[in-house]
Amino acid sequence: MSAIREVKYLRELQHKNVIELLDVFSSKKNLNLVLEFLDSDLEMIIKDRSLVFLPADIKSWMAMTFRGLEFCHRNFILHRDLKPNNLLVAADGHLKIADFGLARDFADPGYKMTCQVITRWYRPPELLFGSRYYGSSVDIWSVGTIFAELMLRIPYLPGESDMDQLKTIFRALGTPTEEEWPGHTKLPDYIPVGQFPKTPLRDLFTAASADTLNLLAKCLIYEPRKRITAKEALFHPYFTALPYPTHPSKLPKCTTHLSARALEEVDGNVEMNSTGPGVKANNSRLKRKLSSPDDGTSKTRSIARRLDFTKQGPPQSP
């Protein structure tokens, strides 16, 4: 199911900030996706302590993320699993959105969707409260938390469980009031998790400019309908203020990826006569790590995927 989604959407999407699906072929019962090869991902870059990020670097990554996301949303596609690990970085520094295994088309108004999407740390509060009707704003929240993570160099809202995730969010941003987010207490899984005071973002992000904090705050607005859209974000003064975004080729690059990949090739099943990296994923790797974002295997990204048509995916919401 997830591979079918991935093929369906990637076949349609062509944008320089979205991973390119070069080819699909099947041999016997496997479906093999040939994806554009990308060196590293944003998670590896964030974790690489030897790298120093300038504000202009973060601006460049954010601009590329928003451009790719705006393109997805313009095509009526929700990504639903944005996280640093799924923002891949090419050798020339260009960032590309990858992993459309949880993506879906915008639903018609009144059509229920599942709220069990997006890796927990990047999941917006409305999904944690069980909202079954949502839109592109869920992806914007994820981008907001990624934005913060780029500045902090550690995950911004690392909840240990779904319940703890809500607490973590409210501890950081204050418990929402009815005025701020009308109707949130009526959401299916609403539970009060305690009152936390609002602390200004400036207290945590001490070095950030006013524009930076303004855009960050607009990505993390509780009321989903008030949250900034990808298109609006691209017009935000943050992107036109000094310093200008770093050119992709001059962005900090990860130094550790080569050894990680070599190991995987020994374990994997290597196609001898292929020109590209033909590593096949094990079935276990196909499972989304919704519950454990910090899973150790997330480092070794599988490049080719396979699809077993004979197995049904988990039931999706109608």
């Binding site: 524009d211 017009f235 200008y244 099943n269 048509f309």
Partner: protein, 365 residues
């Protein structure tokens, strides 16, 4: 830090969001449907004729190899007859969808898959019955309306899971793995909503929508979706349902004065009329008797290589097995050669069982 307005800032502001340097074009034109699945009526009939002739030549050859002279009295299907049979199975999709209460999107997608499949294959190789079942099952998955294979096959008489699964790859591959389809019923829904801005529009648009939707459904029995855009078909269906309102709506959307797209606007009435004619002349189920006759003859001219258990089938399988075996041996000897030569990529190989290195063998059952 506060941004200082400067000339360079403003230029960047104008340039930044429009990062795409190509001129703006409709989203539809970026779709695989627009790029790969649009044909002129002539292209369609040529394509079908070529496929048909190629299939007949192959089958004739196979029959002759088995028993010289045996192909002379076989009456092969013509391209039109093949098409007639496919059309019958398009109507079966609608029946199954109402049985399962699948949404409109599933039905429309399955119909598109079936039609596209037979632009790459012929019914003499693959009978539309199982292809239709597979196309429908695949459509439930690609449109996010999954159903378990067991539920699916137990509700359809005389159908085993293997009837669906065996062809799934073939169908997906024939579709070029291009699963996303733009449908005219969606365009119609949008038009119906938009129509409400017209002063002439009645308060209740539902009867209009229902009526027009029936015309959209009829259009699925035609080649319309392979020739025209979804919105053109939707407008034609709307025009069949309510000609006045349809022309008022399209007039309200037409830019006044000369525009670069002026030409396509002028062409629209002609296109709409052509689709209307297509729907009214071809948009009904085929005569069952005629199709039955085609199906009867198909039994005699099916490609024997695709009939499990037949002589030609076994011969073909044996040949495939021989080629695969040769390929495996070649790979193995190449790998050994590489190790013997001290190839830097060969040193790790002994840790991996040889069988696993062979890409093709991995899922052999």
């Amino acid at each position: 830090m506060i941004a200082k307005p400067s000339p360079s800032t403003t230029t960047t502001a104008n340039r930044l969001p429009a990062a795409d340097p190509t001129p703006k074009r409709p989203l539809y034109e970026a779709s695989t449907q627009f790029r790969n699945w649009r044909f002129s009526p002539e292209q369609l009939s040529n394509l079908r004729l070529t496929l048909n002739e190629a299939a007949v030549a192959v089958i004739r050859n196979t029959l002759e190899n088995e028993k010289p002279g045996s192909s002379l009295d076989v009456s092969f299907l013509s391209a039109e007859e093949e098409h007639l049979l496919v059309k019958l199975y398009v109507t079966k999709i609608a029946q199954l969808c109402s049985l399962f209460r699948f949404p409109e999107e599933v039905e429309a997608t399955a119909v598109t898959y079936l039609k596209r499949f037979y632009l790459k294959n012929t019914v003499m190789d693959w009978h539309p019955k199982n292809v239709m079942l597979t196309a429908l099952f695949l459509a439930t998955k690609t449109t996010n309306n999954p159903i378990s294979l067991e539920t699916y096959t137990t509700h359809i008489p005389k159908t085993a899971p293997s009837d669906v699964l065996d062809l799934e790859f073939l169908v997906a591959q024939s579709l070029g793995f291009e699963f996303a389809v733009w449908h005219s019923h969606r365009a119609l829904w949008g038009m119906t909503l938009d129509m409400q801005t017209l002063p002439e529009c009645p308060a209740d648009t539902r009867p209009i929508y229902e009526l027009a939707l029936n015309h959209v459904r009829s259009s699925r029995l035609t080649d319309a979706e392979l020739i025209y855009t979804p919105s053109q078909i939707a407008l034609a269906a709307l025009s069949l349902a309510t000609p006045e309102l349809a022309s008022q709506w399209s007039a309200s959307k037409t830019p006044s004065g000369p525009s670069p797209s002026g030409q396509s606007v002028e062409m629209l009435p002609g296109v709409t009329e052509a689709i209307k004619t297509l729907i009214t002349t071809a948009g009904h189920p085929p005569q069952v008797e005629a199709v039955r006759e085609v199906d009867r003859r198909l039994k005699l001219c099916k490609n024997p290589e695709k009939i499990v258990g037949s002589h030609a089938y076994l011969a073909k399988k044996a040949e495939e097995e021989r080629v695969a075996e040769a390929k495996r041996n070649k790979k193995a000897s190449e790998a050994q050669q590489a190790m013997a030569d001290g190839d830097p990529f060969g040193t790790e190989l002994p840790k991996v069982p040889m069988g696993l290195v062979d890409y093709e063998d991995e899922d052999e059952d």
